[in-house]
Symmetry: C2
Subunit: 299 residues, 2 copies
């Protein structure tokens, strides 16, 4: 089943202890789409400026990503620059220029409105809500968020959560939103806010799914060569949602398999800047690492 | 096969956000022995003072723990007091009185020297070496350590590592000893120092086994009710070594099962102060939680 994603498409400049990448393709919807397109056709809704390089559009068009919903506005594309130091746990943002993304009013193309699976990447809760209002009864909607919206737009975020089935967020965000340090208790509190499936990402330590049917624990894939963590969370979400949309069924067992694929895709992503590593891999690489991962985790 | 442990037996006073326990039984060899005794008879080598309460000796004697090697010296028993705040990740030591443990010169009883499985709990590397010198060719020796010995007695610690088969330590210690942040690289570097099996504990995030035969990833058990983390690492090591000694065979598959038991035992331990929670559980409780854990992790 086709999968719709609404999020950012941008141009990043990233520096890590392993090098620097200048003006490379980035944005939540880019990482998400690339990862999800391993499994299903992806419908992308976002906005770029008239300066958006043709070569990046060409990159995306090598995958099954429908860019009908990629609006081009007069002005500049969203730009982010950041730096990861030493342990590479947290990005230090050096600059953000929202540019045309600052006026983004998501307009879901008519032919996308029947999408059964929908992902609302991190963004203003009010915009996430606008997207939901345009959809024709999707089967499964998942959302991401970030610290800014939790502190500055909590009432709006809570309204969104009432309308989503899945919530994919990191441990710090889960703790901030619930004011609960224990992640199991935090996940339960998040379920109370609406979503049946809560996936808490713990970076290199893997992730945790809490649902009414039970828990899943998925460790992180032990990656030795972390070059740039940018986009890991969105790649994870893309792999997860892509696999779910492919199977068309949401239950805890499918979700577990989905999270494993998301984890493996994210482990590839961090091995390169931007989408450079994701561009190198095919389904066989993905399955091969998935098997290796399974051999390390079998109980 | 009987399992020998050399480590501390002490009296702890611990305060956490969930309460305070005054003058309770503690020490690495206590937690280790209790956990290991679920699987095999344990031979304990340690020292206490003449003030060591009879009731604590009675507690230990309810389990299959041979205390022939528990020396009683004139003087006071080792005492530690500490506090865990908020997130309970790190204990703040309020006071340490080594007392008779400061003069501990481990003397392994003659009838213990044939032990096939040996655990050297955290302690002076020179004392760990003295124990090894007294053993008659054990099949599998594992050791723990801590930040003090890494910074102050690194050459002595490196000598011990050349003579052990397994090394069980936490992530911070692994990073400190190898000066490598990436835990996979750190584990590989530790293998170079001697031990074939390196187990890195990541607290609530589980653990990682690196061996020549391959990796194992075991997530943490998602415990909601963490009352006191004291002894979690030694309980983990006890469960792990106990299961290994029971099977009598060391390979990556046995080690994986062993680590799972260690993880589950540690998850019980943190639910109470001292050994109070461990005292309440039997093998059926352990197996029941183990099954539940496996259902959360199956790939």
């Amino acid at each position: 089943m086709p999968l719709l994603v609404v999020g950012s498409v941008g141009i990043d400049t990233v520096e890590t202890p392993h090098g620097k990448a200048q003006d490379v393709l980035g944005g939540s919807a880019v990482y998400f789409s690339w990862a999800a397109s391993f499994f299903v056709p992806v419908r992308l809704v976002s906005v770029v400026g008239s300066d958006f390089p043709e070569r990046y559009r060409d990159d995306l068009s090598t995958k099954d990503i429908d860019m009908t919903g990629l609006e081009v506005r007069d002005g500049k594309t969203f730009r982010w620059s950041g730096q990861y130091k030493d342990t590479m746990h947290v990005a230090e943002t050096l600059s953000v220029d929202l540019n045309v993304f600052g006026q983004f009013a998501p307009n879901v193309p008519e032919q996308f409105r029947d999408s059964r699976f929908v992902f609302l990447a991190n963004g203003l809760p009010t915009l996430q809500m606008e997207v939901l209002d345009q959809m024709n009864g999707p089967a499964f909607v998942a959302a991401d968020t970030m610290n800014h919206w939790i502190s500055d737009m909590k009432p709006e975020l809570l309204k969104v959560l009432k309308r989503v089935d899945g919530f994919i967020l990191n441990d710090a965000e889960a703790r901030q939103l619930t004011e609960e340090h224990n992640l199991i208790k935090a996940a339960r509190a998040l379920q109370e806010m609406g979503p049946s499936y809560v996936i808490i990402k713990k970076g290199e330590h893997g992730s945790l799914l809490v649902s009414e049917e039970g828990f899943c624990l998925v460790p992180g894939y032990p990656t030795e060569h972390v070059k740039d963590p940018t986009g890991a969370g969105d790649t994870f979400a893309g792999g997860t949602m892509g696999y779910l949309a492919k199977t068309g069924t949401v239950n805890v067992e499918n979700m577990r398999q989905a999270i494993i694929y998301g984890t493996v895709l994210a482990s590839f992503n961090v091995e390169g800047f931007s989408i450079e590593r994701l561009k190198q891999i095919d389904m066989a690489d993905l399955e091969s690492r998935r098997s290796h991962f399974a051999s390390m985790v079998k109980f």
